[in-house]
């Protein structure tokens, strides 16, 4: 049995990616179990999906804590304390990451101890579809690496995406992208070793009075710790030569990420700017440019 975890952020198509893979494996004749784990519908929140593929009936339920393979659709999740996409990855496991960098660079940056496969899914999607749709490439690349047959991947992409897109809405282009990505990766023979379980013994829970144990927050305004700047695909960049200090961008930013510097020019908290780009459209002087986010925080 092969167990995969797919990590991304809400809105990136994690569920669809897992379903493309799951459906492809199902069509090829495997037993499959897949499910996404998410709470409230929200763009940007870390989301994971789980896929088991097996020749035998699958005796598993719930989240996969020790996957053979992990797909990381948003590389900023590698630093996200909440997401921990690589946790539990088995020895000799495979990590597929959506990034413009090389496997060596990623391994060096994040200390990844696994076989790393990189693919710039964002770029491929922008090139072929004109927008960043990650579900199709992520699901297709995973299918390719796992060794699913191309005809099954094609049919899976058509089935899954037909439920979301209609004809003329890009279904054909998405299927083309799926095949393109599928052919760009090499199938790997993934043979992992069951990793020794993390030594975390069961404890006796000790009593703490309500002053500590009630679900209240005494800290104030600490949400910037979430660093939602990780959500961006594009970042807004100001041109001070053109800026008239009209403050429209300040007024329009939903997250209040724009403030004024000492000279009265807008300055941005890039740690938390989500890249919605309302400011770009709001600037009457057209003084804000949208730039592809290459830097990872």
């Amino acid at each position: 049995m092969l167990s995969l975890r797919v990590h991304g952020r809400g809105g990136q198509g994690v569920k669809v990616a897992s379903r493309i893979l799951g459906t492809a494996a199902f069509l090829e004749g495997f037993y499959v179990q897949d499910f996404p784990l998410y709470g409230a519908e929200r763009r940007g929140a870390p989301i994971a999906a789980f896929v088991h593929i097996s020749e035998d009936p699958i005796m598993e339920r719930g989240v996969i804590s020790d996957p053979d393979m992990v797909v990381v659709m948003d590389e900023t999740l590698l630093q996200d304390a909440g997401a921990k996409p690589l946790s539990g990855l088995r020895t000799n496991g495979v990590v597929l990451i959506n990034t413009s960098r090389t496997p060596e660079e990623v391994t060096a940056d994040h200390g990844v101890e696994a076989q790393v496969v990189t693919l710039d899914m964002t770029k491929m999607s922008l090139t072929m579809l004109g927008e960043s749709i990650l579900s199709t490439p992520a699901g297709s690349a995973a299918a390719g690496i796992v060794g699913i047959g191309e005809e099954y991947l094609k049919e899976a992409a058509e089935r899954v995406l037909a439920g979301i897109l209609s004809e003329g809405e890009g279904l054909d282009e998405n299927v083309k992208l799926a095949l393109s990505v599928f052919r760009a990766v090499t199938p790997l023979d993934i043979k992992t070793v069951e990793a020794p379980p993390e030594a975390s013994p069961v404890i006796i829970v000790s009593f703490e009075p309500a002053q500590i144990s009630s679900p209240t927050i005494n800290a104030l305004g600490n949400s910037p710790l979430r660093r939602t700047g990780n959500w961006r695909v594009f970042r807004p960049v100001w041109n001070h030569k053109v800026c008239t200090k009209c403050m429209a961008c300040l007024a329009r930013c939903p997250d209040g990420c724009i403030s004024l510097d000492e000279e009265g020019f807008p300055c941005v908290d890039y740690e938390n700017c989500k890249g919605c780009l309302i400011c770009v459209r709001a600037c009457p002087a057209e003084g804000i440019e949208k730039v592809r986010e290459a830097q990872v925080l």
Binding site: P209, A210, Q211, S214, P215, T216, I217, N218
Partner: protein
């Protein structure tokens, strides 16, 4: 201190007044309405320094009460059956907020079919919520339990809300002699509420009742509620000892009646325990070494007390005034689990009676003792649904009148 004839509802109102409650959001429902009417009158006349608000539903009422408690005010409200269940989600919410709200539930059978008379399905429906539960046998207990409840709820080691339960009609509308303690003495026993963990004030903002994502985080909060509830058993013991010293009335988590040397024991809760005690006396007159264990504190469940009281008995009958449809008596299951691992566990039987205020007659109590003796000698029977021949005849007449019977 004065002594007067008070209904259970009036006694409850006195408990609230002596506790010097700040806020009463209210909504009427039989059989608790007199509690809030009495409080409204006292507040209107200036005899009680508090604010009273008529709310638009029990769901809103419990929300307002919990929110006021979360703001730092000592708050009270009361409800019953349908009203309790209408606000059900807020019962869990307020307990999770860890605020010391005290409520009275006047127990009443649940619709459908609709009734006004008492049983314990309503109060037991909230047993999992985190609210502590105190059940009263007499009107005196009602008054005293409210004062105890605030002291218990507001204890820094506890900080969980408390529900004081009294049976509708048989306590709520029944008058008995009640001692009304001196306000100054109560003030000494119950200091003002000065929260350190939950309040709203401009100089110290806080976010309360926030969302939690992640199973282990949620589990932490729920486990701590459970541990606080268990801690409350210790605290209850301490404050009842203090209460007894001051007011000369003792209230353990359970009460044994002729239980020490008993061979056959009845387990009950609420006002019908009085009938149970009378039945025990009659059984003794017939030569049966009978006894009764009354449960007062239902949450936290006084596990060790119950086990100690019932171990070694020949047979025990749990008389449930509630029914879990498809399983049987709720208290029966709870008592059974507490005795299961005991090496000296008695034979345990289950009886259901008193639903919707149905009387439990001397014949039915005799039946219970008969079955216990049979069970000790030959093995358990039941669960038994208590109903007499006369009652069956009565309902047959009603059915025929409603044209529900086939050709007789």
């Amino acid at each position: 201190m004065k002594r007067d004839m008070l209904t259970g509802n009036a006694a409850a109102a006195w408990g609230v007044r002596l506790a010097e409650v700040d806020y009463v959001p209210a909504y009427p429902i039989t059989p608790q309405t007199e509690i809030i009417e009495t409080l409204a009158k006292w507040i209107s006349d200036g005899m009680m320094d508090a604010r009273f608000v008529s709310m638009d539903s029990e769901h809103s009422m419990i929300t307002a009460a919990g929110a006021a408690s979360a703001t730092g005010a000592r708050t009270f409200t009361a409800t019953s059956s349908q009203g309790l269940l209408y606000g059900f989600e807020m019962i869990y919410t307020v307990a999770g907020w860890r605020v010391p709200l005290v409520m009275v539930n006047v127990s009443r059978g649940l619709s459908s079919p609709l009734t006004l008379e008492p049983d314990h399905n309503d109060i037991f429906a909230i047993r999992d919520s985190g609210f502590l539960q105190i059940h009263c046998e007499t009107c005196q207990e009602v008054l005293d339990s409210i004062i105890l409840a605030y002291r218990l709820a507001e204890d820094e080691q506890v900080l969980l809300p408390v529900m004081v339960n009294m049976d509708g009609f048989y306590l709520s509308f029944t008058r008995e002699p009640v001692e009304i303690p001196d306000p100054e003495e109560v003030r000494e026993f119950l200091p003002p509420y000065r929260p350190k963990h939950a309040f709203f004030m401009a100089s110290r903002p806080m976010a309360q009742g926030v969302a939690v994502l992640g199973g282990s985080a949620y589990s932490y909060f729920k486990y701590q509620m459970h541990l606080a509830s268990l801690k409350a058993l210790e605290v209850y013991g301490e404050i009842c000892a203090e209460f007894e010293k001051k007011f000369h009335r003792g209230y353990g988590p359970v009460e044994g009646y002729m239980l020490e040397d008993a061979e056959y024991a009845l387990v009950m809760a609420g006002s019908f325990s009085t009938l149970g005690k009378k039945a025990v006396k009659r059984a003794r007159d017939r030569g049966i070494r009978a006894g009764l264990l009354k449960l007062r504190l239902l949450r936290p469940f006084p596990e060790a007390y119950i086990r100690r009281a019932l171990e070694g008995k020949r047979a025990v009958s749990v008389l449930d005034q509630n029914i879990s449809v498809g399983k049987g008596g709720i208290l029966y299951s709870e008592v059974a689990s507490c005795l299961f691992n005991s090496k000296k566990k008695p034979v345990l039987l289950s009886f259901i009676g008193g639903l919707g205020g149905k009387n439990i007659s001397p014949q039915e109590f005799e039946f219970i003792f008969e079955k216990m003796i049979e069970a000790f000698e030959g093995g358990p029977s039941g669960p038994h649904l208590l109903y007499t021949e006369k009652e069956w005849d009565d309902i047959s007449i009603l059915k025929r009148t409603a044209e529900k019977e086939g050709d007789a």
